[in-house]
Assembly symmetry: C2
Homo-oligomer: 193 residues x 2
DNA sequence: CAAGATTGAACTCTCAATCTTA
DNA sequence: TAAGATTGAGAGTTCAATCTTG
């Protein structure tokens, strides 16, 4: 068994800070959106992607991929949005199996109404808090991490084949505890999820 | 009506990169945890907080606050975990209304088994991808943003009282479109949620 | 059979109502 | 009455099965 490289204090700080930011920011912006515009973040994301697409229509499969959603989730979500007049479904001429999700007039109206307040919310809780340098640091870090997760299957496969470590050459000096020994003091600190 | 300050290209880049990182990282680490250890991220977070607490017990109210969860969510979650032998409930001697969530033997065993693989997952998908400088940049940014959202009620109140802008003195030169005009080209780009 | 998409059931989360005690 | 906590119903998500077409 290999020794577990626990997180160093500064790594743990980064991880917990990330967790707090991710959860609170997501929750707050979703809350603002719902209160201000009556849209869930799922609703909004669908409307954004459709509004940006050529002809305001996207194949279901394609849309699910862009949103990183399962087909099932998208199908249920669109059924609800269709019932509210935000989107429509259309058949695909070139492939009879396929279906298009199409932005309906009501959906366009909704997102046009919602967008200004949503932008303000994003500014208030994130963008306007950061200076130019921090903004570009965040972009770089986020693109790096997201890019590394581009292909989920590759990551999962890699994890199962080889051992768990050696993911990159960046391993800092291995300041950590040994497995079985656990984190030091009373009240052990496991890394938060 | 005030003109909407849309996101500049570099701001939009940061926001979309953040969204992609947040969603993919959360999903991947939750997937790893479930496959490797049979725990949901909610399960794991509860176990972490209980394992770190004095006496491995936390008042329900307190635990809900630390997790940023509603009382209702925590109550349901603990009911499920209790049925699996991960936690127990105990009465509070000093306040008969209160209840403690207590880490059960099974829960301790589960998190001890899960933690090493979880740390490896966190390293693989985030920590080991960043150098020391990026790690501290991430910590600083995340703590700043999370700290600003510390008091959700304050934020919500502030938004409703005054207008939407003027959140801080950091406003860059207002490169944006005017309201009603909308984003420029065909296929308008609204800020993604 | 594989790919595109939908369906239903089980599970999780949210919201409002409820119950008990300070 | 307010605080701590639970409950049940409704909404959203996931998982496996299904249906149709390439």
């Amino acid at each position: 068994v290999e020794p577990t490289r626990w997180l160093t204090p500064s790594e743990d700080r980064a991880w917990r800070a990330w967790l707090a930011m991710a959860e609170r920011l997501r929750a707050q912006i979703a809350r603002d959106l719902l209160v201000d515009s009556g849209l869930s973040d799922a609703d909004y994301m669908v409307l954004v992607h459709l509004s940006e697409a050529e002809g305001r229509r996207v194949r279901m499969n394609d849309l699910a991929a862009r949103l990183n959603w399962s087909k099932s989730r998208l199908s249920h979500q669109l059924a609800r949005m269709q019932a509210r007049g935000l989107v429509q479904r259309e058949e695909c001429p070139s492939d009879a199996r396929g279906a298009f999700a199409v932005l309906a007039a009501g959906g366009l109206a909704e997102i046009e109404r919602a967008a200004p307040k949503h932008v303000a919310s994003v500014r208030r809780h994130l963008i306007d808090l950061l200076d130019e340098e921090q903004l570009s640091q965040l972009s770089d870090i986020a693109e790096l991490v997201a890019g590394h997760l581009r292909t989920q299957s590759a990551c999962t496969a890699a994890r199962q084949e080889s051992g768990v470590e050696k993911s990159s050459g960046l391993n800092a000096a291995g300041a950590g505890w040994l497995e079985g020994e656990g984190p030091p003091s009373r009240a052990p600190r496991f890394p938060a999820c």
